[in-house]
């Protein structure tokens, strides 16, 4: 992932533009506009969510994916969530509110691309049960400018979790 960042921070104008794009994207997911969200992805999207195993401090952190999708499988996942007749986990829907902070935005190594690191906090209220809680982690995105518009080409969400305490993950991060 770091290989996609050049190490050169973007200027203020692009910093603001990218923040605005990602805030709008978060609002779109909070509104559960899933098909709209698919429109923000490149055709070669790779979307991952990782957790880690509790290991001794002397050992290297071992992360592993709980979600690892490319366009085809991600579309299937999103179509299931988007259609109320095709999901029980999200019907009635989970209430969510996404918060992004601690942005570090650099030019990508590829032309017209950016590498974004940001902290992510998602409040989730599973309305059908007593559970309400947070997903917290760091998000690493690669954005690409295509015909002037920003698109998400790669997303990896490293959650600060070892055991999901609130049952399975059924929202997008």
């Amino acid at each position: 992932m770091n290989g996609n960042r050049s190490g050169t921070a973007v200027g203020d104008a692009e910093y603001m533009e990218i923040q605005r794009f990602l805030y709008q994207e978060a609002a779109l997911l909070d509104r559960r506009d899933y098909r709209g969200w698919l429109g923000l992805l490149t055709d070669d999207i790779n979307y991952r969510v990782t957790i880690q195993q509790v290991r001794p401090a002397e050992e290297a952190v071992q992360r592993f994916c709980i979600v690892d999708e490319e366009a085809d499988s991600l579309t299937l996942r999103v179509e299931q969530l988007a259609d109320p007749h095709l999901t029980h986990a999200e019907n009635p829907p989970t209430l969510t509110r996404r918060f992004l902070s601690n942005f570090d935005i650099a030019y990508g190594t590829a032309p017209d691309s950016y590498g974004v690191v940001a902290n992510l906090l998602v409040y989730r209220n599973r309305t059908t049960g007593p559970e309400a809680g947070f997903y917290v982690g760091v998000r690493l995105d690669v954005l690409r400018r295509i015909d002037g518009a920003l698109k998400i080409a790669n997303r990896c969400v490293d959650l600060d979790e070892t055991v999901l305490r609130d049952s399975t993950l059924s929202i997008l991060l």
Binding site: V49, I51, Q53, V54, R55, P56, E59, Q62, F64, C65, I66, V67, D68, E69, S73, L76, R77, E79, Q80, D83, H85, L86, T87, H88, A89, E90, T128, G129, P130, E131, T162, V163, L164, R165, D166, S167, T168, L169, S170
Partner: protein
């Protein structure tokens, strides 16, 4: 219905095909399950490939107690209570790792990784004649593995693992030891907590074909591969439940056996000759036609082999670990043949957890509905009304005569016969193991 009132004092009404909701909600039942079943029978802990080298360990749950599953210097698997003999401190506080000697962080008692006490640090203050060899870690008295699947038991007199698995072993072999090098775990287990009774998981996997069309309406609607659905339809009459005396069972879903073998592209071409080397011809024939298989090893281990892609099969192992009467922790591992290519394993892993992992498109709907069943049953009014397993009754005493493989088979495969079989075994143990 609290208990069934038929005089046996159990939770299962055998005659009417009913089970008390208390069995699926009560913390008192959970505590009895721990002492009467989980601390007395073989429980699955880990796969040998998770701890390949001496010193590799994983912390898992054996019945009511957390244990260290470790490979000792001689390569033997040891299962030991994760608690210091001195004042009880947890010795391995990570979920997995590598240890040399084990030194308790509290006062410094030090053990070999095989469990023997090396020193307390204060041996000279102990009474003369103290036998320090008796102060090693507490071992599970019975540890064994079946094709790399490690089980242990706190009851020294339990029957041998192979006998315990019995006829289901024939099927497990076809999934977990079908190539010369066997299977391996591809990643650490996905783990999640769900507010549902653990038995719902065991029942779901032993044979609940009635839930697939409704619970999994999402994936089954979005599956555009018409040939698979057509195959499913043709397969219906050739699918069956298999049950065994210990309460194990599985459900095998076939393409019609009469169809040409190549009409359904199940397993990777490169792996098929390896199956022929390792398995009996009947096991190969079974795998060759299999669309999907699910099963449960009593009490809380389940497996599923399903299509990952054309010519790929994901094998998933699943543990339903009770936390209380109304909560469990789920562990889910994905397996592939060691001989398979790295690309094949990667596809199997990704597809395995796309469907059945901690964010699986099947799993998320299962968990929502299991938690909802548990929540809605956990009150005195609901508990007056037992769960129905009535679609088992017509079939319980009528096994398929033409089944030539181990275990008793029942057709059709969309009844609750395997589930009720599980609950009868559960009830018998709960009544007898006092």
């Amino acid at each position: 219905m609290q208990k069934n009132g038929n005089g046996t004092g159990g939770w299962v009404d055998v005659e009417r095909g009913l089970v008390s909701r208390e069995a699926f909600t009560s913390d008192d039942v959970y505590r009895q399950e721990m002492s009467r079943i989980f601390d007395r029978t073989w429980i699955y802990l880990a796969h040998e490939s998770e701890i390949p080298s001496p010193g590799d360990y994983a912390v898992r749950q054996l019945g009511s107690a957390p244990v260290i599953v470790v490979r000792d210097d001689g390569g033997q698997i040891r299962v030991m209570l994760n608690s210091c003999r001195h004042r009880g401190t947890k010795l391995c506080r990570a979920d997995a790792g590598r240890i040399d000697n084990i030194t308790c962080p509290f006062h410094g008692w030090t053990y070999q990784r095989g469990g023997a006490l090396i020193t307390t640090g204060f041996d000279h203050h102990f009474p003369d004649g103290t036998d320090f060899s008796e102060l090693g870690l507490v071992h599970a008295p019975r540890v064994d593995s079946f094709h790399g699947l490690i089980f242990a038991c706190w009851e020294p007199d339990v029957i041998d693992l192979t006998d315990y698995l019995g006829d289901i072993g024939w099927y497990l072999t076809a999934f977990f030891d079908r190539t010369p090098d066997g299977m391996e775990v591809l990643a650490p287990p996905h783990r999640w907590r769900t507010r549902a009774n653990w038995k719902i998981g065991s029942l779901n996997f032993i044979g609940d074909r009635q839930h697939t069309a409704t619970t999994h309406i999402g994936p089954s609607t979005l599956d555009q591969d018409r040939s698979i659905r057509d195959g499913f339809r043709k397969a219906r009459q050739d699918s069956f439940h298999v049950v065994t005396d210990e309460g194990h069972g599985c459900t095998l879903t076939y393409l019609a056996l009469g169809m040409p073998a190549k009409s359904y592209d199940t397993h990777a071409e490169a792996l098929q000759p390896l199956y022929e080397q390792s398995l009996e011809p009947d096991q190969v024939a079974m795998l060759h036609h299999l669309r999907v298989s699910v099963g449960t090893i009593f009490p809380n281990l389940s497996f599923i082999e399903s299509q990952a892609g054309s010519g790929e099969k994901a094998v998933i192992l699943r543990l339903w670990q009770p936390v209380s009467g109304t909560e469990m922790e789920v562990l889910s591992w994905v397996f592939a043949e060691r001989e398979a290519t790295a690309e094949y394993k990667d596809r199997v892993l990704r597809n395995g957890f796309h469907n059945f992992g901690a964010a699986g498109v099947f799993e998320q709907d299962d968990m929502e509905l299991w938690a909802s069943a548990t929540a809605a049953s956990d009150n005195p009014i609901a508990r007056r009304h037992p769960y129905s397993f009535q679609t088992s009754l017509r079939y319980l005493d009528a096994p398929a005569e033409d089944h030539k493989w181990p275990g008793r088979a029942h057709r059709p495969a969309d009844t609750e016969v395997a589930q009720f079989h599980f609950m009868r075994r559960w009830d018998a143990l709960m009544q007898s193991n006092r």
